[in-house]
Symmetry: C2
Subunit: 192 residues, 2 copies
């Protein structure tokens, strides 16, 4: 897996018993373009291809997540002040989370993109301040972790939850199946 | 917390740094009635009140989850065969997950109920057999764990994800706030 994210690693363990993490050095900001669906696919593909060059025999999986609110794309916050700004933008409204996933295998690379809508409760400035002070937002697109302490502020979602965490598991499973790979814990087994 | 579920314990740690688990002995099946919204609230309230009698000074939180497909209510499977039957019912369609939460504190008990729709991909008999063989379905309402190996079969949800796992965190936070309790990690703090 071409990702430094511990959350993606945890999710991927739903599909594979064992895998190796190789972090790519692609310049995500330079590669990203709008619309976010296109930018995320471009970044995910670049990550997968770079790691495929390092490990040409491997099945390589990469992903990229962006948070979209109105026409603004929120990536990882630069600092605590930036995180508070992002959370004020998300408070009391609905935003979109776009995750692209790329699979590189045997010289081919396929990508897919999944979108989930996320409804945030209204957060007070005090709640935002206390949440940012936990440090949780700093390495996350949109400055929050739905699976972490931000969970109590999420009133609901529409779409794939795992997509919001960072890896659309069902979509990835379909992508792997389309390439003739068995998605059940990487065990060899008859195709269904 | 009046629950034996390790998943609820993990979710509750998003709200509180420390808490104690006391498992109630209420007869869930005898108490449950339909519709599921009413049955789940009745069970959650009975659990909370029983534990409140044991620990009268405590803030007691209890919950009960039911899976509803058409007019059938799926609780925990009796055995592997029953789990396979439930999963065949859920395969390739949408069902509802109802979780009721009850908060007992200072002689009062308040309940709330949350509903989430869950879309399942079509599972083959082989996939169902292999999933049930993991043992994961056995202690779970509807015979699946959305946060576990069933995650790859979930194409999407509408509503609160944590409700499907077993504890509607935002709804619980609102219930606690309504009773004058600060929901941010149980720290004393100004009400907002």
């Amino acid at each position: 897996m071409a990702s430094a994210s511990p959350r993606r690693r945890e999710l991927l363990s739903a599909l594979f018993d064992t895998f190796e993490v190789i972090v790519s050095n692609v310049d995500e900001e330079a590669l990203f373009v709008t619309p976010a669906e296109e930018g995320a696919q471009r970044v995910a593909k670049a990550k997968a291809l770079e790691v495929a060059r390092i490990a040409p025999e491997a099945l390589v999986i990469a992903a990229d997540t962006a948070v979209v609110v109105d026409s603004a794309v929120l990536q990882k916050p630069a600092d605590a002040k930036d995180a508070r700004r992002m959370l004020r933008m998300l408070s009391g409204r609905t935003h979109k989370v776009v995750t692209a996933v790329a699979v590189a295998f045997q010289g081919r690379c396929h990508t897919a993109v999944e979108m989930t809508e996320v409804d945030f409760a209204r957060m007070t400035d005090e709640q935002i301040r206390r949440y940012v002070a936990t440090g949780e937002p700093m390495d996350k697109a949109g400055a929050y972790g739905i699976q972490g302490r931000a969970s109590i502020f999420i009133t609901g979602i529409r779409g794939c939850y795992f997509n919001v965490v960072g890896l659309p598991l069902h979509r990835l499973g379909v992508l792997l199946e389309e390439q003739g790979l068995d998605i059940w814990k990487g065990q060899p087994g008859e195709r269904s």
